[in-house]
């Protein structure tokens, strides 16, 4: 079993830690960094509750080893509103009631944020496809889609 020292940027701050090779990124985030906004939903690469943005890409952090994040830039839900002002995607979930129990929300927001960075004016279909790796068991997705549409409009206004 190998131990590795890894250095990465987490929500803008430099972090250096020692991890066992088998430590999953999601466990590293929750247990070593104590950032518990990233959730574990299924443990089977199905649900997307653990979605984080790794080097600019939304990924399921249960399906990456922490040691693979050495040298990377990582953003978790805690890094989305660093100055306390909600990101337009977060605001959209608030305004449009894009959550009920809230368990999937951090992952949904990380995916939605990445989607809107790539596609500034997504159609409803593109939003639905874009979040198809994130499972929500409460909302039936309609309110989540509306929240992302709200965020897209808000971001467009700001440009």
């Amino acid at each position: 079993m190998s131990q590795h020292e890894i250095s990465l940027t987490v929500n803008g701050a430099a972090v250096t830690k020692t991890v066992e090779a088998r430590t999953l990124l999601v466990h590293f985030i929750r247990e070593n960094l104590e950032l518990t906004g990233t959730h574990i939903g299924c443990d089977t690469t199905s649900c997307g509750a653990c979605t984080v943005v790794l080097d600019g890409k939304p990924v399921k952090s249960c399906t990456v080893f922490a040691v693979q994040a050495n040298g990377a830039t990582l953003q978790t839900i805690e890094g989305v509103a660093p100055d306390g002002k909600l990101h337009p995607v977060q605001e959209g979930f608030w305004e449009k009631h894009g959550l009920q129990c809230g368990y999937c929300t951090p992952g949904m927001i990380m995916t939605a944020k990445s989607l809107l960075e790539k596609n500034k004016k997504p159609t409803e279909q593109e939003i639905r496809e874009g979040i198809s790796g994130n499972i929500c068991r409460c909302t039936g997705y309609n309110k989540i889609v509306e929240a992302i549409q709200y965020a897209a409009a808000k971001l467009e206004e700001a440009r």
Binding site: K57, T63, V64
Partner: protein, 289 residues
């Protein structure tokens, strides 16, 4: 769920990666990890050594050269979806990339890994069989090219030796009159196929000059529907010919009953999806309308 312990290496060069495989019997190559890491979490796989090739950016490319499309083994599924070249000229490949797992998994999942894993439920095996692709493997003795028809040797088994790394996939550039399509029936996004049919054909007028058909998840190994191909080759693509080919494919595959359906259901679905996939491929032949 936590994987069993292992030693981890992140080589910087292909030669270094090959040396690590040579020195560590039972080592596994870690590419996108979207099949291997779940298998390790369930402890279905417990490799003692992982050789992480994600740092080998020289294996990440999409380019046309010498009559074929060359895909570096580390090409991510999401990169295929976004590539203007793939979107323009490789409809079958684009169809496939869009239905592999889900959009988050596709950010990391690689084409090379999808093939090297040799899972008959994966999508690229059928597609590469339909394209008549070949794969390039590097090992201690140098490089060799393996035809896709010789690549899948069993359930989760391929012609790759334990000390070899798949480095490139080569897809013949489609010529005039060519069209392709991949249709997958899945219960929900992210699930494996109930059945999937990959078709690549070449038409001359309404006559099918050549056709290759690959099937997903209806056989213990990825397979070509050779009988169906023979039925359609040299024929006009009439409804009767398609129905006959669909029935032949339904007979020559060998699905297992599971939560996705009975054997009979999967065979019949294969018949129907084959007909649709051929029609879609036909409609995509340039100038066919």
């Amino acid at each position: 769920m936590i994987p069993a312990s292992f030693d981890y290496h992140a080589p910087r060069t292909l030669d270094e990666a090959l040396a690590l495989l040579r020195q560590n019997e039972g080592a596994k190559v870690l590419a996108g990890g979207q099949s291997l890491i779940p298998a390790m979490r369930f402890r279905l796989a417990q490799p003692e050594v992982l050789v992480d090739i994600n740092g080998l950016s020289q294996l990440d490319y999409i380019k046309e050269q010498g009559g074929y499309l060359a895909l570096g083994a580390l090409t991510r599924e999401a990169a295929l979806e976004e590539s203007p070249l793939i979107r323009h000229s490789y409809a079958l490949l684009l169809d496939t990339a869009k239905v592999v797992a889900d959009p988050l998994v596709r950010q990391r999942a690689t084409v090379g890994g999808n093939l090297a894993h040799a899972d008959p439920a994966n999508d690229h095996p059928a597609t590469m069989l339909a394209y008549g692709a070949s794969v390039v493997a590097r090992g201690p003795g140098g490089e060799r090219v393996i035809g896709i028809d010789q690549f899948f040797t069993g359930l989760f088994e391929s012609a790759l030796a334990p000390n070899e790394i798949l480095t490139e996939i080569r897809i013949p550039t489609p010529g005039p009159g060519a069209g392709g399509a991949y249709l997958k029936i899945e219960r929900k996004v992210g699930d494996y196929a109930v059945t999937g049919v990959a078709v690549q054909l070449t038409l001359s007028g309404n006559v099918c000059k050549s056709i290759r058909i690959g099937l997903t998840n209806v056989n213990p190994t990825p397979m070509r529907a050779v009988g169906a191909e023979q039925r359609l080759t040299g024929q006009a693509l009439s409804d009767e010919a398609l129905e006959a080919a669909g029935q032949i494919a339904a007979g020559e595959c060998s699905p297992s009953a599971d939560l996705r359906g009975s054997e009979e259901y999967k065979r019949d679905l294969t018949r129907v999806v084959l007909k649709r996939a051929v029609r879609l491929a036909q409609s995509r032949v340039k100038g066919s309308n």
